[in-house]
Symmetry: C2
Subunit: 343 residues, 2 copies
Amino acid sequence: MADVARLAGVAISTVSRALANPGRVNEKTRLKIDAAAKQLGYTPNAMARNLRVGKSNIIMIILPGSLYYGVSQIIPQVLQSINKALIQNGYHLMIANLDRDEMSERHILDLAFSGTVRGAIILSSKLPEVDGRSLANAGLPIVSMLLDMSEAGLPSVVTNDREAVREVTAELIRLGHRRFLYIAGPEGNYHDVERYAGTLEALRAAGLTEESVTRSGGYLGYQQGFEIGVQAAADFARLADRPTAVIATSDDMAISFISRVQRMGLNVPGDLSVVSFDGSPVCAFSSPPLSTIEQPVDEMGQAAVDMLMERIDATDRDMATRHVIPSRLLRRESFAPASSNSG
Amino acid sequence: MADVARLAGVAISTVSRALANPGRVNEKTRLKIDAAAKQLGYTPNAMARNLRVGKSNIIMIILPGSLYYGVSQIIPQVLQSINKALIQNGYHLMIANLDRDEMSERHILDLAFSGTVRGAIILSSKLPEVDGRSLANAGLPIVSMLLDMSEAGLPSVVTNDREAVREVTAELIRLGHRRFLYIAGPEGNYHDVERYAGTLEALRAAGLTEESVTRSGGYLGYQQGFEIGVQAAADFARLADRPTAVIATSDDMAISFISRVQRMGLNVPGDLSVVSFDGSPVCAFSSPPLSTIEQPVDEMGQAAVDMLMERIDATDRDMATRHVIPSRLLRRESFAPASSNSG
DNA sequence: TTATTTTTGGCAATCGTTTGCCAATTGACT
DNA sequence: AGTCAATTGGCAAACGATTGCCAAAAATAA
């Protein structure tokens, strides 16, 4: 930095002012300094700056340890949109995986307490916590994404799981369907609760009872979506009074389910309508093209970052808010009126 | 830190020694200090330490801007394995996206030149470079992954693209296939070059000429895998003398291709064998289950980190090496002897 | 020209560690 | 008890920026 000052013919403090907060310095000298810096290939040392100002410019994203290896590309999309939004705000993105082991929790807490990161976006329902230290009281702004944790005090950005499923179920009812199969992810999980609630709401609104829906799954995680679908097909085959419509809570489930029931000789959507959740691009190319509820991942990422920036700037700790971004039904051929012989 | 020293009843320099390089301090006092630190909830400030020692403990991974949104979960797997390996070495993982725009390049270069990161793992074939500064001369250890860039001076860890495709092609030939369709990614891309070369090598070894393979695709990126497959199906339909075996260079291509040719009334593998590249889990659940060459992503990530650690510790700048990790053919039903009426 | 505002220079403290140095203390071993 | 090695204490200088302060200089206004 001294070199830059010398080359530009100004004082070292002026260089700092020009680079750190341009605006407190004359435009002409700022240009001179920029030119000198560029000529010398100088970039200010970020760690020294951060140390001095007492705040880092790194945000960490906490991913659930067991990533989802199915067809749905949620994680890369999230990372991409969050990273982009962060850069625009002058921040960098650091990754942390939250496994079930103590080591990963310790790692995350170190990141938080060592002052390495300035804030966090979390995609898991559990906050790291090990021997006394908890992420909750690290003094870090945190926002939750995908899962609504506003009741636990974390501002959250989510999609309208419940409403979306309610609407698509209502549409299926409108098409004449009266018996449903609901393929669940891990029981009690936020998404399962919301989505199943959405199904029930639609049924009730149409004067149907909970009897008209059969649940399958519930004991495996979303990572095992394919197995869940396979199992659901087996469950389905055993049912005396077979459903005519299937609501799968992930694309993986729907895909493996369909592949199995087709093998049983059933036609989709002739015999059976199927709709699922996630909006993976591959759904457009399965046979038949699969209707799916697309998660607005990009917008959610952007919103999460906006929310985090607000928290960082906020002086007062206000209430945890909840930001809902509507999802979108991608309607395709897997979806048809109930066949006459099954009403 | 002073507080910890006071509580533990030792000098501040002893605390530093105990925390920074345990081993230069007696075991008993180390325990005393650890206890005091834990009691006070103290974690050393990472930025101050890094500033002092003049090196960061952050590694950045440079992802191609246009991530792959198909069925193949390469990126999350890479991140997970790399992150895990890094943590074990005491490093953190930072993300950078390399888009085509200047802004993202500038961002990456800032990360490099500001001393924020200590090294980089790159998954793109082009090194960021903008107004004079280039990642190549940032003095950072870099390793390339997925793409072989050892000739450009970057140590690389890759899978055996060419050999794997050669072997699977040879196997198809053994099964009686004589006419092939090769579905390509972007022409000239490392993967395309290698995989196509593998195909040709197998053909030649069996005394067949280049005539026996028809190329489709080549003008779209891997992100457009589904479209490539659809187009390939159309190309296929127009061929007078139809191939009996298809080699797709990504699972996406194979999936959409199959969905289209099935719609044309063809049976896989009865009329047509298909094999593809990537090893996405969904392939086990498509109809028919899809044979695919699995990329050993976890091992590659681990190897990339090992290589990077070596580079960081290395005093002498030795030659760029190339580490090949073999892939594995997941053989499934999409794969069968050539039908008698087509030989 | 003078008065007033804006911009810069120079100094020094600060952020929280690490680390070299040497003296002082402790511990272990004859 | 005496010797030698291992460990610790205390001090101070770094690492590379930011920032408050005030005086000096420059630009602008009157």
